[in-house]
Subunit: 356 residues, 4 copies
């Protein structure tokens, strides 16, 4: 069970390495008769594309999807949807100097230890480029969720020490795409850009946080015990490279709270059941209650830095690793579509599991 | 896919409601020839037992396991290990007043909406009593891990506003069981007890945090993409009732850090590869690197409080819910064995997946 | 993945050895709100009970089910349904002489080789007594299928050289339970009984065949490629002890046929689509077409015979194995409810997979 | 759970329709460090290629595999192996006359009923062309099995009324590839060719049987209860288009046999445990016992015939379907590599499950 499949009934199986010929995947379990808007899928891919700004990697790829199966006359047939995105801007020679070295906080060492024979070029299967297949799969999931009016919106809420202080339900999410950082608070975004410029000059990188809101979920998504909706969301997020933490609803602040503060009282609004507060984050007993689902995801700083580091090579000899090659100062803005994609895959899977 | 099974190769499937005849489960995939120490299993169950102190629920049950299969002459045979723990102290009449009401922040409403017909007594399947099967399964996993010298130690690091400020690798984990709160810092524990007494008098409850360290893991556990070790740990933790967040290694503080601070440089110690720092939390690229794995889990306050709350009944009418019945002021100390059990299940599963 | 779970969405996980304390299982994925008729379940268990006649094993057990969870006020709640059937008539000392011997065509040798430490008493997990959990699970599946008017009827069509020559759609299936052999053709049944008496006197055993018809299936059950309906039925049947072959529709005789003979032409009957012939056995392209599904299952003779056999012991020494202990002359009549149970599990699983 | 994945630990997920752009798949769980001989994979694909002889379909495709991932410097890396085989000889206009008709004994009707919107061209996902991905996956499995000296050999043992009468262990399997029909008995093969010529002239098709032997299996493959080795083989075979039956070892003839005839007595040969006879077909209690595994698979005649047939269209109107287009008189010789591939996938999966 090698772990390249995500989901139970709406399943994405992915493949591909950073410097292989292509990245891609198979979506199995997508209902038939659904119009598949390729332009929308490509627009999602564009959001995670490198080279969007001076703060991200300069790798240039077209990153357009080719669908190989499962679509006929523009609509899904219920057959598996296979897709590929070619790797175009491969410069494997850029990685020759990394062939025999274990880069700090990269997967070089653990992959080597686990597999013996590995594709070291650009991180191989461990490369963040792997996530392009998640974004493609998530885009199909979003199209499916769209017919239930389920909407997923993620944004950058923190970069390094600079963060949005407002509560999520008070933030205008229509402004997410107004700036390159996908931070809906313009002032905060401006400060972030300044901060990133400084970090870039230092040859350093920085971590950050993404917040996400899922609105329009019906009551009933999630399974009671091990497959609670928050459990599957947590797994989805922690499966993304560089993610170090997940919290939903009140999250870590719940540890400080009293029951009398935290409990969400039920109330009727019209003929619908709602809660007055939403510390539950839209999920109770592992099952969606119809309120907004919201969560935060913490990202560590990118491990590739433009500074010299001490490390060892494959023979255990101390070596100095110099900083060179492509890299992002901060990966968090580009991870926004990835967070959304993984959330969409979880919700789509649970929609089908719940037979909506 | 109703979500009552956890794990891929070392699998636990559980059953049982709070006020049914028994809680239990089936462990499938446990290797043969392993001595199963029932006393150890029962000692683990005792750790999550209610009524251990004035701060926890007063339900009294013996909570001893009965093994129905899979063991012959004291050793596992490779056949599935079924077990039950009878529910003894059932007083379903205690729950008659809850039959028609949706308790705030409980699963009453979402279960009703999802299933129509539900066992409302004591939360039914949503009850924390469900976790006894996890602890039993986890105890078997711990016995299995023991032969590889893999050790899992969780403890209470925060209750409400009172928390341990030391880093995890500086805490003496031998002191965990020195007090009823399972907090290894005695001074902090004393303050917590005082705090909980106050909360109890208010008829209120409070959240907290559990920290966990896994030591002795070989290099290589975890699968690269979706089944990263941290992803499966996150899912395991978020599947526990009342858990609101998970972070590993540097966790949420990584969002504030720079790459130059966060990166763990490799170094040889004797003939073994180690990292100087351990912000990675023992996992790189989703795969254990041989360093200690450590993580934090945030718990919300118990939803059942001894105060009057506003809510609605099944007909949507506003009702006042009075506080009565059994309850814990703080569930966190009793959740320590649950966190360990779920961690043990994840690590055992990945040991078998990795063919160690 | 130790193989004690059957099904994807309607899942049965079983446990128990012949001479352990109980056999049982957990059914996960059974929809909520379904009345569970325990009497019906017990009547199904009674059908596979030993000691029903002079031709079957003399082991006497009550074989009544105890439900531990998942049922509240007589109806399913969507929670896992756990059940046990105690083993009462255990005489492990009967098996002491088998402790060190590999019985011909039993699982003693392969279990020992695979697991090292095994429960040899009465075959342990390999015992046909394991099937009681299948019959219990299948009974619940039948109750579920009943609301769609899907009906499963199996019967004995051959014992040794004596067989029913009629086509399945010409046999009066109401007569199945008219005789102890569950053979709906009375004359054939009488000849079978005579034949079995002879075999019994010889201290021998004999094989046979069970035929099964599933009527009332909606169009659309089954998945196109690997999980074709016939593939899952084949797996279900070959998972039963002593089964050596499976064929559906035209079966092995299809190898002799021409396309012009074998093709089932479509025709309208009223406003419904039907086929004139049914060589397809109710399944086309892996998916049910609304016609009757029918199949045959071949059973080998019981391996325990009342004759002396040559074999070896665990040290590889030649030994003579004398025939003694309980045994069935022919297991086929008692396997009828097992075939039905496994078929019911497959169809129930595919009903849920197909969202009917 | 849409059924496009086969296997638990060595998993093949496939995609592609007859007239889409490509057929392909992802192999997940193949161990790292294995040399992947592409020539061998292509030679396996060539065996199932249409147009090999006058008796098979005239569709002409190069059918060479392109590997997209999982291989580096000629060896597997443990990452998923994705592959595609382009569809080249597509003439969708050939199928326009089939757009609105339900062909007898094809999947047109059941697919339409299940999915609503379907790709009708050449059978779409139901086309036998789908099996090319199975053969590719099976070829990789064969390479893996090769290092354990496990060998899988299938051949045509029957076409229509003409069959090999010898027992499988007396047939010279080195002669399988001596003729286009893959029948190792030359005289029988000659008679088959004559017979097929006659059938072809009639515009008809005919069924047949494939026999298969797996030698070199270690003791211990297979799981005791639901995932018995024969159960997974049966599922694998019945998942192949046109297969109507499966039997292993003594098979259907076991129904006629007595225990005293059927039992396989154990005996030592050198220091190895063997059985004198092998009615068990190399599997006891669901687990391989080290003897040869052998089984038969029955195929129905191809449904596309060159004769006029009665059927209905999508509106339920009676129509005459004329025979035209590409077709095979008998698919059985081309199905030999498919049977081998599916057997290889099952055995490889169970090798990994058994940790060999």
């Amino acid at each position: 069970m090698a772990g390249n499949t995500f989901g139970q009934l709406f399943r994405l199986t992915t493949f591909g390495e950073s410097h292989g010929s292509a990245i891609g995947g198979i979506i199995d379990g997508c209902p038939s008769g659904m119009e598949l808007d390729i332009k929308f899928v490509n627009s999602e891919l564009a959001k995670r594309k490198p080279g969007q700004s001076s703060v991200s990697s300069s790798r240039k790829e077209k990153d357009e999807i080719t669908i190989l199966s499962g679509i006929f006359e523009g609509k899904t047939t219920g057959a598996p949807i296979a897709f590929i995105i070619p790797n175009q801007d491969q410069k494997p020679e850029d990685y020759d100097h990394l062939k025999n070295v274990y880069r700090p906080s990269h997967a070089d060492y653990t992959y080597k230890a686990k597999y013996g024979h590995t594709d070291y070029r650009g991180g191989g299967r461990a490369s963040a480029r792997e996530t392009i297949a998640r974004v493609a799969g998530g885009a199909v999931a979003k199209i499916y969720l769209n017919k239930f009016n389920i909407k997923i919106q993620a944004f950058v809420s923190q970069i390094g020490e600079i963060k949005i202080s407002q509560e999520i339900n008070k933030i205008n999410l229509n402004k997410i795409d107004n700036n390159i950082l996908r931070c809906p608070d313009e002032k905060v975004a401006a400060a972030m850009i300044k901060y990133l410029d400084k970090i870039k000059k230092e040859g350093d990188t920085v971590g950050g946080m993404i917040s996400c809101k899922i609105s329009g979920c019906p009551v009933g998504l999630g399974e009671p015990v091990f497959d609670k909706l928050q459990a599957d969301l947590a797994k989805a997020m922690l499966s993304i490279q560089a993610v170090k933490g997940f919290e939903y609803g009140s999250g870590f602040s719940a540890a400080f709270m009293k029951g009398s503060e935290h409990n969400d009282e039920f109330v009727m609004k019209g003929n619908k059941i709602h809660t007055i507060t939403n510390h539950s984050g839209g999920i109770q007993g592992g099952i969606s209650n119809g309120e907004d689902i919201y969560f935060n995801v913490a990202f560590k700083p990118v491990s590739t830095i433009m500074q010299t580091q001490n490390t060892i090579d494959k023979k255990g000899k101390n070596v100095l690793l110099e900083g060179k090659g492509r890299h992002d100062v901060c990966v968090v803005p580009r991870a926004v579509p990835i967070v959304e994609a993984m959330a969409a895959l979880v919700i789509a899977d649970h929609c089908i599991r719940h037979h909506i």
